[in-house]
Amino acid sequence: MFDLIQYLVDGLAVGSVYALIALGYSMVFGVLQLVNFAHGELFMVGAYFVMYAISLGLPWPVALGLGMCFVGLFAVAMERLCYKPLRGAGKLAPLITAVGLSLLLQNLVQAILGPNPQSYPARVPEGKLSQFFGQYLPDPSQLQIPHLPDGLFDWNDLVIRHRDLMIFTIAVFVTLGLELFLRKTRPGRGIRALALQPNAAKLVGVPFDFTISMTFFIGAALAVVAGLLQGMADNQVTPYMGISSGLKAFAAAVLGGIGVIPGALLGGLVLGIAERLLVGYDLSTYKDGAAFFILIIVLLLRPQGLLGKARMVKV
């Protein structure tokens, strides 16, 4: 029984990272009914970007801000170049394009930065790139690499690591902030209006293309936050982290109710806890299947997700 509580607490940190990625899936799906399959890769690119920026000696808030802008603008460019021309071409074409984009990003990063995991401080892989960039990278021994707090609360043998608590708090605040932005500000209400009824939103003057670009930007920026947290928590960044965490985050978004912001948080946390429980009870070989098992069960029993409302599809 006591183990159970410990696993629940441990699962929250993993789940928080899933939740931050799931928010991006959820928002984009809300406005375009598109599964942005490449969203997980934005998380991966963000994790690399921030790791290299910090290894260059930038303070972490600057690195994070730059990463959010860079990956956010990248996501906007991706939407303009690859998804926008396919609007009105049905659902299949953008979905296949998204799979292609995901494959492209994953393999590009692997080609440039190498297939092996990188940890702080990041180094450029051997080769021509290394000679070129090597002179700009500061000496790792002189670098102040920020890291998540190490301490832990010990409370009747129930151990809560500070860093898990911090990741969880960040995820909750980001979700709350996003929910406030969507409810209280004008651009945020524009996003909600588009998700609710695109044509009516256009009629009352919601700028369509701008709002969609903004949705992609925000989703990507949140994925970069997740990338920074995950990269620091595991001290490891790989070209494949996007595909594995990204797909689980999608499962989390569906579980919580895709298009519902608190649903993404709830789904992520439930998924993280479920995975931690499997590891705790010696079933870790089944860990990676758990997300999808939950996904299929949810689709069978409650397709609108835990917090979603069933929507009638009008002809």
Partner: protein
């Protein structure tokens, strides 16, 4: 030299045939019904494992030993088991709007991969070995030809037309009295069963299968083949399979820098195809062939003194 070349080409040709059968199955789902299955390789692996388990465990028990009969039954077992697996995934997902099927098939593939790694009787992570050699290149190509022919016939039947009508406009199709759920389901199940056939052929040709065959990357390769070749035609799928199997073989002699990045080229081609030429490379090949034909006929016309 010639003999070596022949011997060397057997494996790539077998793999081409099997990829082409998988691609034909996915073409029916993707190009025919307009549904994206990202777990096609898992259905293939289910078919392959079941067929192998049948010949290794069930056949001696049943006293079957005639190779031809055994291979035929294992093809049926492969197709049947993949069809059943398809039923489990498709029944909940096809009732829903949106792209849930793509993600659920992907999730299903992960589950299948996880399960295969954990079942010891079929080899676990080491893979399933000791499968008798029952199929070979002629088997693979006969089944490929049969599937191709049967699908071409099927596309002209009422159900085949209904599947494409549902893809083009679901509401219009429903107003014509088509049960769109049933047509989508039948396309998905038939496509999965064809993947199972490919699996049965694979295990009995290579005498080995591992859980990696259910991997997401394998499913992506089949999607790439269908999309690059041109997802609206059967010929396109076979062409796509040929491109995907041939490119690594051709690049074998290219420098490392070019060879190792082939997934980047394939990804770029897929994005390009979706944005600019949704009919795929197949249309390019046909256009070239047609231009060639036109040139010939016009020169013939001139020779006959016609207007040309």
């Amino acid at each position: 030299m010639m003999e070596q070349l022949l011997e060397y080409s057997i494996l790539p040709l077998t793999l081409f045939g099997i990829t082409a059968i998988q691609a034909l199955g996915l073409q029916l789902i993707l190009g025919g019904a307009g549904l994206l299955s990202l777990g096609h390789a898992a259905f293939y692996a289910v078919g392959g494992y079941s067929a192998a388990a049948f010949t290794v465990y069930a056949a001696p028990y049943l006293g079957l030993s005639q190779p031809l009969l055994l291979m035929l039954i294992s093809l049926l077992v492969g197709a049947g088991s993949a069809l059943l697996a398809g039923l489990i995934v498709a029944v909940p997902c096809l009732r829903l709007q949106g792209d849930y099927l793509a993600m659920a098939t992907l999730g299903f593939a992960e589950i299948i991969g996880t399960a295969l790694k954990n079942i010891d009787a079929i080899g676990g992570t080491r893979g399933f070995t000791g499968i008798p050699k029952l199929s070979s290149l002629p088997w693979v190509f006969s089944v490929l030809a049969l599937v191709w022919w049967a699908l071409a016939r099927f596309n002209r039947t009422g159900l085949g037309l209904a599947i494409r009508a549902t893809r083009d406009d679901e509401i219009a199709a429903r107003s014509l009295g088509i049960n769109t759920y049933a047509t989508k389901l039948s396309a998905f199940l038939l496509g999965s069963a064809i993947a199972g056939l490919a699996g049965a052929l694979y295990v009995h040709a290579l005498q080995f299968i591992s859980p990696d065959e259910a991997d997401f990357s394998r499913s992506v390769v089949i999607v790439l083949a269908v999309v690059i070749g041109g997802m609206t035609s059967l010929f396109g799928s076979v062409l796509g399979a040929l491109i995907l199997v041939a490119v690594p073989e051709v690049l074998r002699f290219a420098p490392d820098v070019i060879r190792e990045q082939r997934m980047i080229y394939f990804a770029l081609i897929v994005i390009f195809v979706m944005l600019f030429s949704p009919k795929g490379l197949q249309s390019l090949v046909l256009r070239l062939a047609r231009r060639h034909q036109k040139n010939e006929s016009s020169s013939l016309g001139r020779r006959l003194g016609g207007a040309g």
